[in-house]
């Protein structure tokens, strides 16, 4: 950006060159932003869906949409916009999965041995223990994941956006597509349910 600004109109082709540099800077800024949020976004989607592949797809779709639709917006807006897109994708996934589950139930295909079902029922630990010295962290994380998955989706979203992403109430409401009052209620209920589930000695 600084280089494009330093070029004077006397330079031949300066507009095109300036445009390219600007685009390159925007692309780099987007890359930095996405690199900073992608793992947390993945974890959010993973907690919501209970499936790594589904979570990766949702995060990639959210990244594509942000870059495509809002890449030219001010950098400060990317965070709330990205979370809005991601939460919307998670809600859509959740609705699709519920409908699919109903159809499976109706068609009597529950005994097919397929493990896909109600995502909230998928409380099983999806992380694979790797190192012994990190076992405690993993156990704490697994317990939190499991507890988060028992929450209704709206409470889960409110908790992760408010407590983890530290979005304010208005930003969380925008990301969740609901009122600020609903965010407060969902967040409050989520904290109390999680505290009950995890107990006083967690982590």
């Amino acid at each position: 950006m600084a280089l494009s600004r330093s070029l004077t109109p006397a330079h031949s082709g300066q507009c095109f060159l300036g445009g390219r540099i600007s685009t390159l800077e925007e692309t780099r800024a987007l890359d930095r932003f996405l690199a900073g949020v992608e793992r947390r976004a993945f974890r959010m989607a993973q907690i919501a869906t209970g499936h790594d592949d589904e979570a990766l797809d949702l995060v990639q779709e959210a990244m594509l949409k942000l870059v495509e639709r809002y890449g030219t917006r001010d950098e400060a807006e990317w965070g709330p916009l990205f979370h809005r897109i991601l939460q919307s994708k998670i809600r859509d996934w959740y609705r699709r999965t519920k409908v699919r589950s109903r159809w499976r139930l109706w068609l009597g295909r529950d005994e097919d041995g397929e493990e896909v079902g109600d995502p909230l029922a998928a409380i099983a630990d999806t992380t694979t223990p790797t190192a012994d010295h990190q076992l405690k962290i993993k156990e704490a994380s697994s317990a939190l994941d499991a507890a988060l998955r028992t929450l209704p989706l709206r409470q889960q979203q409110a908790f992760l956006l408010r407590a983890w992403e530290e979005l304010d109430v208005a930003q969380t409401a925008a990301a969740m597509g609901c009122s600020e009052g609903s965010v407060k209620t969902h967040y409050f209920r989520a904290i109390h349910t999680l505290r009950t589930l995890l107990g006083n000695h967690w982590p």
Partner: protein, 117 residues
Amino acid sequence: MSQDLHQDDREFVGRAKGVLDRAVGEVDHATVLRLQQGRLAALDARARRSSWRPWASGLAIASLAALAVLLWTQPAPPPQHAAVPLDDFELVTSVENVELAEDLEFFHWLADDDQAG
């Protein structure tokens, strides 16, 4: 129902945040690579779009300019040009001509007569 967080709740939120942050560092390498691939694909799509967009808009402007020049320089059509097809249409659809059209032998004779002389 009071929605202001008590000290206990705030402490719990802090602990939960710490656990979630640490878990991010535990995301496996394969997943990190797939996230990077997804990010690069998104950025690549943007780069490709922005590279063809100036050409596409330039082409669209050039096409519009060419069309405008063509319409501007083209002479106006003769006034009877549009009337000819209507005349033909009337000839074909009038009741007498429909009756005549049924008499194919007459038309064959007429064509032969024209060729003969």
